[in-house]
Amino acid sequence: MRFFVQHKKSQFINLLVVLFFFSFYLFLFFSVWLKIESNQFFPSDLVVDIKGNPEEFIEPKELVSLIEQIHMELFLNLLAFLSLVGIMFRTLISHSLKILIVFFGFLAIVLYPLSILGIKFLSVYFGYIGFISYAFLLFLYFVVNSVNLISFLTGKIR
């Protein structure tokens, strides 16, 4: 009886986790869409969004709204990444790969907002760092989410 209850419970948790993974794919898709729609995805768009463009009558973004954006995105990305890697720890992928994912994930999370400030105060070349770090973060989200999903579906978890 205990086995039956425990088994049912673990199946229920697996169901919840799988539903979470699918909603996370949706979150990734809409994140890219939102960034492209708001002209904040590609390096040149990111620079124009922040610095403005007098020829197209686009005003530069105010510092307050930039900090607001960074503040919200940092919160969202930190919690999203922590949730994903928290589940990834239970998978059977190698320890060193987990360390690398965690390191580069946090690096990308911090680099993206720093590059926004870099564009504002230092150089437009930070647009490339912003694009690469954000694209890499999305890629990492996709990989970790897929690894988690496959591991849970195949039962390869601790």
């Binding site: 510092l63 307050v64 922590l82 965690v102 999370i109």
Partner: protein
């Protein structure tokens, strides 16, 4: 290398940046002048500043309430993996209360008195300082854990 300690260390390091943007935002918007805080919320006819509506405050405070509670909980729950003493328990309570008071003070300023702008600034400072102390304690704890393992 201990994976959890490593993750906690990097998380704390990254969330300090988040804390910093919060402080920066507060300074840019409100500054530390209670009169300015009251003006922004209650409005000022001479400066053509409209008072904030309840809906406007709710739109900002509702997402903040869940965000602050969640972030504070996530950070403070790492104390669970360290030695918990009375100071850490009190710190956790104070940080939570200060975060909630910071949010509630907007309504108090709008509906009751501009004097609550002092409460807003005070609770904000306590919240950020308390959270920073908690992060340093957790960061140091995870760092020493990592160092112990490497020796």
């Amino acid at each position: 290398m201990n994976l959890v300690a490593f993750t906690v260390f990097l998380f704390i390091f990254s969330i300090i940046f988040q804390l910093f943007t919060g402080i920066w935002l507060f300074f840019e918007k409100y500054s530390l002048n209670p009169e300015h805080v009251a003006e922004l919320i209650r409005g000022n006819e001479e400066k053509f500043l409209n008072p904030k509506s309840v809906l406007g405050i709710l739109e900002i405070q509702v997402p903040h309430l869940i965000a602050i509670s969640l972030t504070t909980f996530v950070i403070l729950h790492f104390f669970y993996f360290t030695k918990i003493n009375l100071f850490r328990v009190l710190l956790s309570v104070v940080v939570f209360l200060a975060g909630i008071l910071d949010i509630l003070s907007n309504f108090l300023i709008l509906k009751i008195s501009p004097i609550f702008s002092y409460l807003k600034i005070f609770s904000f400072l306590i919240f950020e300082t308390g959270l920073f102390i908690a992060m340093v304690l957790i960061g140091l704890s995870s760092y020493s854990h990592l160092r112990k393992q490497s020796h």
